[in-house]
């Protein structure tokens, strides 16, 4: 008798248990919604992007290797003029060049902030890099247009619009991303690495170069990839300085275009469902796939580089 009563009490759903279930449900539904949105975006872009090939019967090979971009018309040789190669090359060029220029500056800054003068780093450099993140990209583009473009024109010749100007603008834009993530990875290098190295008679510089930076390499690579992802996806600032000519870039100072700049320039001028519009979606699909690739890369590096203790 006694036990049955107790069992009944224990099996009764209490108020707290209901709250518990409600909370779990709330979190789960938030998760489901976000997942649905992400999947929706991916599916939408994928179907739209694929319709260039499926509905309009443009060959994938023409799209990735063609160098003439004027959807709706045909090339002199009879292929449809939806060659995205100039934009893909442009995107990769600005991204890689910006990362190459940024990385040494970023590592130098981060080493100064964490290893050489942490106090001054925290007081002055930290706010400065945070400020750089907060500047809207249209402002970067505007500065690029009125400072960088004339500078490139005067020093390197040409019109000033082109890959080089885009690279310089992106260099400043991705610098804070790489710096702050490199700082994090340097800070996560255990202090005992530095102590051990110094106790062996290594100088501070040797310790930084051979121990701290080596140990932080996976983190620094992640930082660079994140910076590249940002550069690859940046649209407005690049569009303002690159010249927006869908031509194969022959040098760094002739007008060129990137995937994003063609997208922003063209999306207001096409009719939904037309070939011109579908071709733009295909560019968007390429962008999406690339950003997924960058994410996977970060994931892969992060998993390889975790500290053992």
């Amino acid at each position: 008798m006694q036990n049955q009563k107790l069992a009944k009490q224990l099996f009764k759903k209490s108020k707290t248990a209901r709250y518990e279930r409600f909370g779990r449900l709330l979190c789960f539904s938030a998760l489901v919604m976000i997942m649905a949105i992400v999947i929706g975006i991916i599916v939408f872009i994928a179907t739209k992007g694929m319709s260039t090939f499926l509905k309009d019967h443009i060959s994938v090979r023409d799209f990735f290797t063609g160098t003439l971009w004027n959807p709706g018309t045909k090339t002199p040789s009879g292929h449809a003029a939806v060659g995205a190669l100039p934009m893909i090359v442009g995107s990769f060029l600005v991204t890689i060049l910006a990362a190459i220029i940024s990385t040494p500056f970023a590592i130098g800054t981060a080493v100064y902030m964490t290893e050489i003068s942490p106090k001054r780093g925290a007081k002055i450099l930290q706010p400065v890099t945070e400020l750089l993140v907060g500047i809207p990209s249209v402002v970067y583009g505007f500065i690029g247009l009125s400072v960088v473009v004339p500078f490139v024109r005067n020093v390197f010749g040409g019109s000033g619009f082109g890959i080089l100007s885009g690279t310089f603008v992106l260099f400043v834009m991705i610098l804070p991303t790489i710096v702050s993530m490199t700082v994090d990875s340097l800070k996560s290098v255990p202090t005992y690495y530095r102590q051990a190295s110094q106790a062996l008679g290594a100088t501070k510089w040797q310790t930084i170069w051979k121990v701290v930076l080596r140990a932080a390499t996976p983190g620094i690579l992640t930082a660079i990839v994140f910076g590249m992802a940002r550069a690859f996806g940046e649209a407005l600032a690049v569009q303002m300085v690159i010249g927006n000519a869908s031509l194969m870039p022959h040098n760094l100072i002739s007008p060129a275009s990137t995937l994003t700049s063609v997208l922003t320039a063209g999306m207001g001028n096409t009719v939904m469902g037309s070939l011109q519009n579908d071709a733009l979606w295909s560019l968007a699909l390429v962008l999406l796939v690339m950003s997924l690739f960058f994410n996977l890369l970060v994931h892969f590096i992060g998993r390889k580089g975790a500290f053992s203790k």
């Binding site: 102590q195 106790a199 062996l200 100088t203």
Partner: protein, 268 residues
């Protein structure tokens, strides 16, 4: 914390420098963290080719003292007074701390191999000093790993990451790494506290084998370890050396009541 130095007894054994080879000594040492005096009254001499244990409760300043012996307190604490190494005061401006640390090596509490191969760990300091001759490096790796009694376990995996080693093996690789630059003095800061009893006894055996060629100073919380291993023992309390004598005497007939209380476990 202001220490009241003069209201209790201390006993510090002094060697006769005529008859004994003194490797290291400290004189009028005062160590400050900011404005706080953390260590004083530690005029201690360390005899060549002996093992000296530094014991005392947590916060007694023994690690602080040890770290100042090879200038690892630079930038952390202010060290005043003389630290004599072979009669030369190494606590003065103009001294090359990197050379000091080459001659006075240090092994830390937690095994701290770099994220490199065992080989690169052991040869790290030599390579930083410009030694890149593979023959010399190979030889150093073999000798020091043998000295540290870990050669047999790692000889087939020299190019694997040192971080995959067990705690005891990693600690002995760290000792080999410290020996690679041929120091005269080896400072060990609780080297066995992260190790199991078997690894600990192997480590102690290693240190005993190193004794004929090195002067070893070891901080330990384990009093049996100090008693087993060391020739001389310093007892620290509240930032000063209370008693310094032969280990046997410290553990059987200490001259100071405080030491007696500590080694017999009646402390506090």
């Amino acid at each position: 914390m202001q220490l009241d130095a003069n209201n209790h007894e201390r006993f510090i054994y002094h060697f006769d420098p005529e008859e004994n080879d003194i490797e290291m000594a400290t004189k009028n040492l005062e160590i400050y963290y900011g404005k706080n005096l953390a260590m004083q009254n530690a005029d201690i001499q360390f005899k060549k080719n002996t093992i000296t244990a530094l014991i005392g409760p947590s916060g007694s300043g023994k690690s602080t003292y040890l770290r100042s012996l090879n200038r690892m307190n630079d930038g952390v604490a202010t060290v005043k007074g003389q630290i004599l190494y072979e009669g030369v005061n190494i606590n003065q401006p103009g001294i090359d701390v990197y050379e000091v640390r080459r001659r006075i090596g240090m092994v830390f509490q937690r095994p701290n191999p770099f994220a490199k191969s065992i080989y690169d760990n052991v040869t790290f300091a030599l390579q930083r000093r410009g030694v890149h001759d593979k023959k010399i490096l190979d030889e150093v790796v073999e000798t020091t790993l043998k000295q540290a009694a870990v050669w047999d376990q790692v000889k087939d995996s020299l190019h694997k990451s040192a971080q995959s080693l067990s705690g005891g093996q990693a600690q002995r690789v760290c000792i080999a790494r410290a020996l690679a630059v041929k120091p005269d003095v080896l400072l060990l800061d609780e080297p066995a506290s992260a190790l199991d009893p078997v690894s600990t006894s192997k480590l102690e055996q290693t240190l005993r084998e190193l004794k004929p060629n090195y002067t070893i100073i070891i901080v330990t919380h384990n009093m049996q370890q100090a008693a087993r291993l060391s020739d001389y023992t310093v007892f620290f309390n509240l930032g000063e050396a209370i008693e310094y004598n032969k280990t046997r005497k410290i553990f059987t007939r200490p001259k100071i009541q405080l030491t007696d209380d500590y080694v017999s476990g009646n402390f506090g």
